[in-house]
Assembly symmetry: C2
Amino acid sequence: MPRVDGLDKATGRAVYSPDMELPHMLHGKILTSTYPHARILNIDVSKAERLTGVKAVITARDTPDVAWGFMIKDQPLLARDKVRYIGEPLAVVAASGKDVAEEALDLIEVEYEELKATFDPEEAMKPDAPLIHEGLEAYTTFWPSIRYGNVCSHVKISRGDVEKGFKEAFRIFEDRFTTQMQHQCYLETHASLATVDLGGKVTVWTSSQAPFSIRSELAETLRIPLNKIRVIATQTGGGFGGKTDISVEPYCVLLAQKTNRPVKITLSRKEEFTISGPRHASIIELKTGVKRDGTIISRQAKLIYDTGGYAGPGPGVASLGSTYAVGPYRIPNIKVDAYCVYTNKTNCGWMRCPGVVQTNFASESQMDIIAKDLGKDPLDLRLRNAVEDGDLSPTGQVLHNVGLKASLQKAAQQSGWGKKTKEKNRGKGISCVQYESLGMASSALVKVNEDGTINLVIGAVDIGQGSSTILAQMVAEELGVPFEEISVSTVDTEITPFDTGTIGDRVTYNMGNAVRMAAADCRQQLLYLASSMLEANPADLKISDKLIHAKGVPEKGVPISEVSMAGHYFKGGPITGRGVFFAEPPAYDQKGVEGHAFPSAPIHTFAAQVAEVEVNPKNGKVRILRIISAHDLGFAINPMLAEGQIEGAVAMGIGYAMTERLVEDKGNIVNPNFSDYKIPNILDVPKIEVFLVGEKAKDGPFGAKGLGNPGVALPAPAIANAIEDAVGIRIKDLPITPEKVFFAKISPDERGR
Amino acid sequence: MPRVDGLDKATGRAVYSPDMELPHMLHGKILTSTYPHARILNIDVSKAERLTGVKAVITARDTPDVAWGFMIKDQPLLARDKVRYIGEPLAVVAASGKDVAEEALDLIEVEYEELKATFDPEEAMKPDAPLIHEGLEAYTTFWPSIRYGNVCSHVKISRGDVEKGFKEAFRIFEDRFTTQMQHQCYLETHASLATVDLGGKVTVWTSSQAPFSIRSELAETLRIPLNKIRVIATQTGGGFGGKTDISVEPYCVLLAQKTNRPVKITLSRKEEFTISGPRHASIIELKTGVKRDGTIISRQAKLIYDTGGYAGPGPGVASLGSTYAVGPYRIPNIKVDAYCVYTNKTNCGWMRCPGVVQTNFASESQMDIIAKDLGKDPLDLRLRNAVEDGDLSPTGQVLHNVGLKASLQKAAQQSGWGKKTKEKNRGKGISCVQYESLGMASSALVKVNEDGTINLVIGAVDIGQGSSTILAQMVAEELGVPFEEISVSTVDTEITPFDTGTIGDRVTYNMGNAVRMAAADCRQQLLYLASSMLEANPADLKISDKLIHAKGVPEKGVPISEVSMAGHYFKGGPITGRGVFFAEPPAYDQKGVEGHAFPSAPIHTFAAQVAEVEVNPKNGKVRILRIISAHDLGFAINPMLAEGQIEGAVAMGIGYAMTERLVEDKGNIVNPNFSDYKIPNILDVPKIEVFLVGEKAKDGPFGAKGLGNPGVALPAPAIANAIEDAVGIRIKDLPITPEKVFFAKISPDERGR
């Protein structure tokens, strides 16, 4: 099925958040800190307020004294006493035009007392480091966490006894990997439009992956009850994790409250790169003990995630990273310590496959280091250790529907694995990954219209991945109605039923189950209504091709439209099916896990990838020749969309592997634009060969699991491994730039020239 | 409780349909017929199309060949072969501005062949009258109807034997009454904005009483499936029946489809008065046989409703009128023939208390004629014949919760009935009425938010009567949550559950029941979730003051917010309560009723009114001194809003009685503006004294019944009766202008001067 939103998006008619306009709308701009760490002595807005066209200037003193955060409540909407990174919002202005608002920013005078800053997370962890958050222990948290000094979260996982394992090992490998900040680079920057009525009710249009989260975060930060906040989702021009939490929304509301006019803020690309939260840079140290036959018996990981000035989702990122740091392998002894550390740098956020992209680069690179050392084939080493049904995840959850081996075998087979290429400077690398679908709450409503067509009403936004298309397909299948006759609602938190959000690969699985339940509820009601018309028992009826009929007697059926029309106008009432699905987290080893936000998951996904590269020894340039990606997603409701999503993930993973890096210098982002921050373009990405493997997953709707995240975690290690295969050098620091390859002594001869 | 929308409406911040704007929006205008009856030979739009700024011109040949109508399918969106009234839409234009669109209308050349027209419904009923609709019998109908010639609907009710009754009567009274066209005069004229996406999906913003009807009528006329149409209700600046069906909406959609741009049409006041459907003018002949003691034993009514060029809701109006034409009295012999007749005049529509305002003027005037003749007190005569619980309605439905006598007694008592005023030219009149709540389908969703606040989601528009306030009160009561913590959604047919519409006094009763069910569903879910937290049986729990606790132990309760938060994030899922209420029509006498759209109703309302007037014999002017209005609405959920609604109805009824008349001359409306069409102003309306009587109605939510309609049917007969009491003259033709009073020989002496 083609995407329901394809035509409007392809022709530019879709309305994204920056397109929103309301009569009498004002434009907002944000003044941000120019110091990485400083005490705020005074903010003088008087000159700005006097500028013609300026309607409001707001600083922290005009806002509720609330510190918020997805997990740790450490962040004010506007810096109150201190600034903790360059780019931290200090004041917001609403004016009749953007230019006036910008001019007003220049007129705001901020008096700072500079404080000693820290930019290196390992330095920040030392006892004598400048403390970025005083009184950290006092912050309330929604999730469990262990905190001290500049460590805002320390997640621990342990199983067995790693020291004992290392003693029994044939060989021990210790490696240190480092990764960079990557930005989500959604084409649509953050934009939001807010209006407030005189009863205090707030309406916000915004581009978001989780409108209900935006609602609850607005409620929390602005102290407004949830029933007085209405969040309406516009089309989303990409999210990739970066549109999960509030961004400009509360500023729009504050300004709208003060001016009694609609206020819109659209971030510029530069603001996006400095204000909003990229992927965490990380330091990953792995110590792995293996037996002579390649069996891994002990693996220890130390992870440091640099979260920047505030916790943000860092503790959650560290949690996910900690689970998958030891790889999807059956290892009896595990110890993981994941630290999320404050520094005076830009605040990091959620980004596709959060935490795991980092650890998987380390873990899957080290697998090849081990294989090479032991003289094993990297595929065989992985297959030997790979988890299977019934094995435990690192947190002690029993795994089911494990398609890891199938993914590895498919990717290897399709790539011609084992047949060594004869061409010089060419090589192949393999990687695999395990990821999870976040569960939590989804609810859905299916309305059967008078004419038998259907409106599916959900609180989950299609952020481009195609969920609206897939969910409509599920309703079509469940109700025996053509796909074209089903429309999927936009999200309006005031009206649509609750959903946790389009995050963590949960929509197809979690919302899919809710939608299926709602459709099944409709079917029951339709059969019941039809039973009196057909003088039959509802249990003896079925629906096919829009007809309700006794099983085996389709020719004596009544159309759904007739039954529904009768319900609306004559007897019984309109048919509205309801589905509520809450995937309860399965049991895990509570003793072995501490400070972990997501210790178990309703379902896991698996994927493997082979990259083939060619390295130019003269300049260190790496050309990616092929990417073969095999994914266990249970059952693909829409194979074309699944493939498209994997292609996008791989492209993003290639950027992460090769070119993308948010460059920071003493807290300054020095490349906040698409000239200096290089995302891969069509020439950088080869044709991506996608294969869907695995069997229908239990509890998944029609056997489907999630999909969006794993693909992005595979290219970096696969490419690093392929480079090693091609030219024998090992890059442990991302991105793999030509300089790094060139200077890694790939060819001392060439280097000398 | 004050109205939830009060502040924004009072300060002008509420957004009504003419306020809507979208980027790149075009403006539409409608070309209308200048002939009352003519064949269309040709429409040449070529000059209009060439005008700079004109983006589309559409005539019937560009539209689906569909005839539509609420009950009888006789009307094209744009006149196809014939025009049948002056003001009938012929073509629509979309242009960059309103002025350009208007200029384009002048450039459209229409060639007509004029046909003989008929303007008098009694003439139109004659066999030799020009036939306005050829092939009438071929029109499909959704409702039952009997049709012939220019009679588009003939509704029949009979019980007993009227002729036998007349033979047994002590006296027989025969009177003929006539009433005028009255316009709804909502301050907000019809306006609509439509946009179409490339998948063909239509979004329409409009001011409507019944967005789901707009949706289905758009689907029918434009041949679009319902899932491809989204109707979003704006604030409604008055409806009074006139915003029940499509008006400008399909033209906006047609133009948006053709131009690929948003198109808005806002009717001018002149267009409102000529294009849109006012209250039907009528001719009512009553023949009543009474016994010597005042008992009515036989009553026959002939009703003629002049529906104009098309049926529209005329057959429904005639149906309602037919039920109540004989008054709310216990009469053994009844015969009613209601005719809805085509003429070449503007098309009439629904208006508050449709059909019954007309018949009640007649019936209640004749009651006083009878009383005077028999020397009875008008109150006593009514009380002697008034229906009570267990009596039958004219269609044979058993009545319950009949508060007629209570209303009559309350109004009489409060007015000092029986104490004849000593002042000259002053008099009192009484009237009463029975009306019904339309049943049909309502559905509602109650969402309990994470913080325990509540969103009520419904498809019923608050058209100014305050239903959103009342329904929120019901949720508050049912769930033990403060009123302020409940928000009521706007209506968006794509998302909100189905409702038949804000028509026929059905929202409080019908939607109220659905809302109550949805809230009760939430309560059950909350108690169930809390039961494990409190380790108690759900049946032993209750909610009070936002706490769920074991009965009798409020101090050991858990807050709703805590239970709901747990449901959203930890176990069970979000709480979404669903209510579907379909009031099935009760049994009625099927043999005695023919061609009737609404033969029975789930519940009836009753009201009585006393008017006190002073007549100036010098100029015929009537000053209304007092109005005392007593209403049986079961139980008033919000007495302030109930009183406000009755005051509005009485003011509208005073306009109907005294000043309002859409003056038609050979099919031309000659007073299409507020200078020449006189609605009552603050000086014309006395203080209205409202009293609420009656007992809680069975099946009504908290005992409530509907309310909006009856009040408008009382002033005309009460005032006419008061004038008779004051100066002894009887006016049988509305409105009661000073001229009519003056020339009715009120005082030959005075007249001579």
